[in-house]
Amino acid sequence: MTAAALDGAGPATSARRPRHPGGLTPASGLGLGVALVWFSLLVLLPLAAVAATTAEGGWGGFWRAVTNEQTAAAIRLTVTQALLVTAVDVVMGTLVAWVLVRDSFPGKRLLELLIDIPFALPTIVAGLVLLSLYGPDGPLGVDVTNRRPAVFLALLFVTTPFVVRTVQPVLAELDPEAEEAAASLGAGRLTIFRRIVLPAITPAIAAGAALAFARGMGEYGSLVLLSGNLPFRTEVASVRILASIESDDLPAAASVATVLLVVSLAVIAAIDLLQRRMVRRG
């Protein structure tokens, strides 16, 4: 799943990389060609079309589209909520990963299953799921619908697995010797965590956070039933894009989409850098 975006995150894998990877044979060259054509038609060309459509309108058009009062409010809300959710994910994700790796108790595998459910569940169902507990008829008596906490809750639900799944394997590979040495020298548990464990898992936390932030920025399905999509209050960037598409204003849709796309590209670049850093550490 998503954690797998960090292949080679475990130090062990990089050491066992094949020593003599071959160049291209005619057959594999053909395969590469076919794969590249398909990848271009499916991913690269359409994403380029988003950028090109934005560029056609010129800088002025782009700026008008993203500074439109309602759109700007939606982008601001999306960024704020995505950042907030990422912050919670960093703390709770690390905590969950810690418990899953260092603790053992009956039912732990059930927790493993729970963590992946938000990833596998259809987003619209995720919205419905949250409505059943945090909606008007929820047994807790908390009703978040059509309010900002709805956006926060939906993003928190769908981004739950990211930090857990990137930190968990790195934590599991961590050599306990350094921690034991620190403990025998009288370091407290908090000091050990802060000085030894945390530095080792920080790149993994950052990578998970980047994925969670990107997911939060672009989230749509889990929000539609929950947030009410109220302009200036609970409307997020992706809902604005959809509204522009539906009113046939594709250049405006492309402009907002370009903003999201830049975030996606930045995240992918950041993860690539972090991945190299983790491999070097190993």
Binding site: A5, V101, A120, F157
Partner: protein
């Protein structure tokens, strides 16, 4: 390990456990359980009802068809690209490896928009030409397959690549030196060792494909009985105050999604407390 856990005061450990269980319980377990309860409220009546509506049955069939097609494409593409990325060196390899991850962080709405801009029948880049050739992509199943394939694209690759790196090339080289051809080597040596990674990748892709909503909403046109998928039925029913139907459809989707995840989480051998990435 045992040593360390004995030194840690059990109180702190219990507190951590409690926090984690409460967090996941409130955020995931309880709400998901409620969906099952709401769907099964009054026995199987809700589910029987939706299975008697022709449009809903059509949507379920369409969803299965689109999802299976895109999973098949992603499996072939995913295994192929993994082999290329791990076993070969070519210019642009690292860029390709990073770009393959891109769909994970692109918003589904952006995916839908991007496909419309290229394949839209009216003024897409390629759409009008393709429609002249008799191939309608947007507002038709091909576009839905493309949207679904796009969002699930990295999942097989990301399962298979680490395993390929892990197993190395020794066996493949041995087979090759004994005169086995490339295809025989792949079928007899490589495939058996990446088998489970492929199964996990397929399970994850299937869950993702069945559940795609935003991108499909844009490219499908959402016409009942023609291009409306199961996730779109959930939204439609909920907005039309058919809560029973919405929960029943959602419940069916949840069952499949959880089954897929269970394959990945429970069948996979426990690797020192963590799933390998």
């Amino acid at each position: 390990m045992a040593d360390r856990s004995r030194r840690r005061p059990p109180l702190g450990r219990w507190a951590l456990r409690l926090v984690v269980v409460a967090y996941l319980g409130l955020l995931v377990a309880w709400p998901v359980g409620l969906v099952a309860r709401n769907a099964l409220d009054g026995g199987l009546a809700n589910i029987r009802d939706i299975l008697e509506e022709p449009d809903t049955v059509h949507a379920l069939r369409l969803t299965a068809g689109v999802a299976l097609t895109s999973v098949a494409i992603n499996t072939v593409f995913g295994v192929g690209i993994s082999l290329l990325l791990v076993r070969h060196r070519f210019p642009g390899r690292r860029l390709l490896s990073a770009l393959v991850d891109l769909p994970l962080s692109v918003s589904p709405v952006v995916v839908g928009l991007a496909l419309v801009l290229v394949y839209g029948g009216r003024d897409g880049w390629l759409g009008p030409t393709l429609e002249d050739l008799g191939l309608q992509v947007i507002f038709a199943p091909p576009g839905m397959v493309m949207a679904t394939t796009f969002v699930a694209l990295p999942l097989v690759v990301r399962e298979v690549v680490p395993v390929l790196e892990e197993i190395g090339t020794e066996q493949e080289e041995a087979a090759h030196s004994l005169g086995a051809g490339a295809w025989a080597t792949f079928r007899r040596i490589t495939l058996p060792s990446i088998r489970w990674a492929v199964v996990y990748g397929v399970a994850l892709s299937l869950a993702r494909a069945l559940g795609e909503f935003g991108a499909v909403k844009i490219v499908s046109g959402n016409v009942a009985g023609r291009t409306r998928t199961a996730t779109l039925v959930v939204e439609e029913k909920y907005l039309n105050f058919d809560q029973g139907g919405a929960y029943a459809t959602a419940f069916l989707l949840t069952l499949v999604a959880v089954a897929c995840i269970a394959v990945v989480t429970l069948v996979r051998p426990d690797q020192s407390g963590g799933r390998s990435p």
